[in-house]
């Protein structure tokens, strides 16, 4: 069930009023929202509901065991079991084919007779997201930062439909306290919720889908058939498409959660205004960045074990972050590009500090140079992220320099406008948006409905026919 569909609209119109009607009776509400979430998930493939249920049951049982165990070794054993189980599910469903083919091809290069066994596993939608949430739950319990809640609350936490299939990756410490008691029905951020939902729909349906169908897919399918200008605009187009697609989804998710009375963490903060790659990762998929920091980078030693080890930890974190996005070496390369640049930025800072030099002055020129350089590094990384093989990525890069001056029919005014809106929109100040939310909030309900309806009509009319799936669903 995709958010921008009539099916979801009908589903939500049933879930929303019943949810608020049952809210005072928390036990019944939990059953209701759990049923709704499982129905939402079963819409793709009902068989995977059992997988989600198993993940919930086993993770919760082991979290409780960790909490109750007094013996440190026993706690560690239970933690190991939980991590093995959760990562095992992810490894099997997401990476089995990747590991088998990589091993088989490596053995083939060494002249070892190929003895491959074919793995054919369907990837359950959202598994990367709910597995990361499960891991944070058991690790936080192990660290003593969390007391396991009841099974029903944990089940709702993990399966809550707004975040279930593509995030944001909500932490137990953020959502479980909100599940402890009924939400206050008098304190709903209507303005923000509707602005997030409508902006999310606009980003997905109008910007992302248009760019995908008008330039990006064509350029990445056969780069050698396109001019350098088309390839360049295609890369910029993909940068905007993936932002609009993913930010659009999480905006809708956050808005829907707000209408149900829950607050999710912010996931994007104008990432293409970043002045450095470190800044970019504070603005892009923020809930993943902090997950990787807290559950991978810091356990690896973070910056506590010397400079060389710090750079290594940064690189390892980004390589694994790349692999999280997809089971292919191109994603690892994407992580490697980000890891290298992050390590170089850190090295430059460390050297400056070692020489006792002050940080460079924060001028407008420096900021703009930083933004332009960072955006282009990010775009370079997106080539590997989008290309289906290294050969295709190489073709894209080669073509970028070898076909200037030829016709560029794909570079149309609507494509340039979509890219302009996608990037320019990130420079709109949050205060300006706040004023719009506030003005919407103060309107009478009829006027609010009319505004929202006109916006929905415009989005539906401008978007291409049909609904393309969200990019992050496959992660």
């Amino acid at each position: 069930m995709l958010f921008p569909t009539v099916t979801f609209a009908v589903f939500f119109l049933i879930v929303l009023p019943v949810s608020w009607a049952l809210m005072p009776r928390q036990r019944v509400w939990r059953v209701w929202i759990l049923i709704a979430s499982y129905v939402f998930y079963a819409w793709w493939n009902w068989r995977f509901v059992f997988l989600l249920g198993a993940s919930t049951l086993v993770t919760h049982a082991l979290a409780v065991a960790i909490h109750r165990a007094r013996e440190p070794r026993l706690r560690k054993t239970f933690l190991g079991l939980a991590l093995t189980f959760d990562l095992g599910l992810l490894a099997y469903f997401k990476y089995a084919g990747f590991f088998v083919t990589s091993l088989d091809n490596a053995l083939g290069r060494l002249g070892v007779e190929n003895a491959s066994w074919i793995v054919n596993v369907t990837l359950p939608v959202g598994i990367s997201f709910y597995t990361f949430m499960a891991i944070s739950y058991v690790v936080d319990t192990y660290r003593g930062q969390l007391v396991p809640s009841s099974l029903a609350r944990f089940a709702v936490f993990q399966a809550f439909f707004p975040h279930l299939v593509a995030g944001p990756i909500v932490r137990a410490s953020e959502l479980l306290p909100q599940l402890e008691r009924p939400r206050d029905s008098r304190r709903i951020d209507n303005g923000r919720a509707f602005a997030l939902i409508l902006s999310g729909l606009f980003l997905k349906v109008v910007i992302a889908n248009q760019l995908a169908s008008h330039i990006v897919d064509d350029v990445f399918a056969a780069p050698n058939r396109h001019s350098s200008l088309e390839v360049l605009v295609g890369i910029y187009g993909y940068a905007v498409q993936i932002f609009a697609d993913f930010c659009g989804y999480t905006n809708i998710a956050i808005g829907i959660a707000l209408l149900l009375g829950f607050r999710f963490p912010q996931n994007f903060a104008s990432p293409y205004t970043a002045v450095s790659l470190q800044d970019f990762w504070r603005r892009w998929h923020m809930t993943l960045s902090r997950w990787l920091r807290d559950y991978l980078y810091i356990p690896l030693g973070g910056s506590r074990k010397g400079r060389l080890r710090t750079y290594l930890n940064v690189m390892l974190t980004m390589l694994l972050g790349g692999l999280w996005h997809g089971a292919a070496w191109t994603f690892v390369a994407w992580g490697g590009i980000h890891g290298t640049v992050l390590a170089v930025e850190r090295l430059a800072r460390d050297r400056r500090a070692a020489r006792g030099l002050a940080a460079p002055a924060d001028t407008a020129l420096r900021r703009w140079v930083g933004r332009i350089v960072t955006f282009h590094i990010v775009c370079f990384g997106w080539i590997f992220f989008r290309a289906d093989s290294f050969g295709r990525a190489r073709d894209v890069i080669e073509r970028l320099f070898t076909a200037w001056g030829t016709a560029s029919p794909l570079v149309t005014s609507s494509v340039v406008l979509a890219i302009g809106v996608g990037i320019g929109g990130q420079y709109v100040r949050p205060e300006a948006l706040g004023r719009v939310f506030g003005a919407f909030q103060r309107l009478p309900v009829g006027a609010q409905a009319a505004c929202a309806a006109v916006a929905l009509m415009v989005i539906d009319t401008l978007g291409p026919e049909g609904v393309a799936p969200f990019i992050y669903f496959r992660f």
Partner: protein, 332 residues
């Protein structure tokens, strides 16, 4: 940023009102969505709801803003439904007999004379979502020195020859012939046609369940009609068969479509060919496999849905297409 807050009741009222207003403003689009649903209770219900909605919307002129916006962006006809099966001279208004008098499979195929090329072949690829990746693979193989000049890939999700109400390929094929003048039309249809319902049949008539003799006869008429349309314009038609799928449902339905595509291609040996992707992509024991060895390397051929091709799978299909083109043209 602190914003004034409101009650859940107001939020619920707002959601209902906003979607009600939006339904009136978008009534024409909703009606089209309802019309193009598969036959069944869901479609019937959607039609029951959208029919009065369109009436109210038109009476209050609430459909005007959407229509004006569509005109402004050059998509004025988007809400219209054209379910007519345009098949040029071969168009018939009645359903054919359920069994053809003489099965095409029994004909002895003729071998076309290979045409020598004096200029690159113009190739056009069209069809459902399965057309996209082989089309892109063909595009990568085209260019100078290869005598293939790529036109475009027109891939429309969830469309086919059974549902012209969803997207009318018969109309589009007429436009392609007159506007694009390709030498070769590569077509991929059928994956979304395996339903008991076909649009474009005379009012009050149905084609019977999927795979029934009457269904096969009508589908064959459409495939044959498209082949004749292209053939009359001197265009070679390459029908891409459906690949071996993962899953019992498709494994039953795809061979039915493939047999029709194959029989029509056999009936037009000088103008059409059938590309057997089923056997090009099956495993050693004739079963589904997502991987095949390419130059000794285990390569993923199929997407996780067990139907669509990866880029490498598309390359295999494109190779088969080029090999079949070699029957008609002396390709370098």
């Amino acid at each position: 940023m602190h914003l004034p807050q409101t009650s859940a009741g107001r939020s619920i009222v707002l959601c209902f009102l906003a979607l009600a207003f939006a339904s009136l403003l978008n009534a024409e689009g909703l009606r089209k969505t309802a019309e193009t649903q598969p036959q069944g209770v869901r479609r019937d219900l959607a039609l029951e709801v959208t029919h009065p909605l369109v009436g109210v919307s038109r009476a209050l002129h609430l459909s005007t803003p959407r229509h004006e916006l569509q005109i402004a962006i050059g998509r004025a006809a988007e809400d219209r439904i054209d379910a007519t099966v345009h098949l040029g001279r071969s168009q018939v208004s009645h359903l054919p007999r359920s069994t053809p008098k003489r099965p095409a499979e029994s004909r002895t195929p003729d071998h076309p004379a290979r045409r020598t090329l004096t200029r690159p072949l113009r190739v056009w690829v069209g069809g459902d979502s399965l057309a996209q990746v082989p089309g892109e693979a063909l595009e990568r193989r085209s260019g100078k020195g290869r005598m293939l000049e790529f036109g475009s890939v027109e891939s429309r999700l969830s469309t086919g020859l059974a549902r012209p109400d969803l997207y009318n390929w018969f109309t589009r094929i007429g436009q392609v012939i007159s506007d694009l003048h390709p030498d070769v039309a590569v077509l991929s249809f059928g994956a979304d046609d395996a339903h008991d319902y076909m649009a474009g049949v005379p009012r009050g008539r149905t084609v019977g369940p999927f795979g029934s003799p009457s269904w096969r006869a009508e589908y064959r008429r459409r495939v044959d009609g498209v082949t004749r349309e292209f053939s009359a314009a001197g265009i070679v038609t390459i029908w891409i068969g459906l690949p071996i799928p993962d899953g019992p449902g498709f494994r039953r339905s795809f061979p039915i479509v493939n047999s029709i595509l194959q029989s029509v291609a056999r009936a037009h040996p000088k103008e059409a060919a059938y590309v057997d992707t089923w056997h090009a992509l099956d495993g050693a024991h004739g079963t589904y496999t997502p991987y095949l060895r390419v130059n000794g390397k285990l390569t993923l051929m199929r997407l996780p849905d067990g139907v669509h091709y990866t880029a490498a799978g598309g390359d295999v299909v494109a190779e088969e297409i080029i090999r079949d083109l070699g029957r008609f043209y002396a390709l370098p």
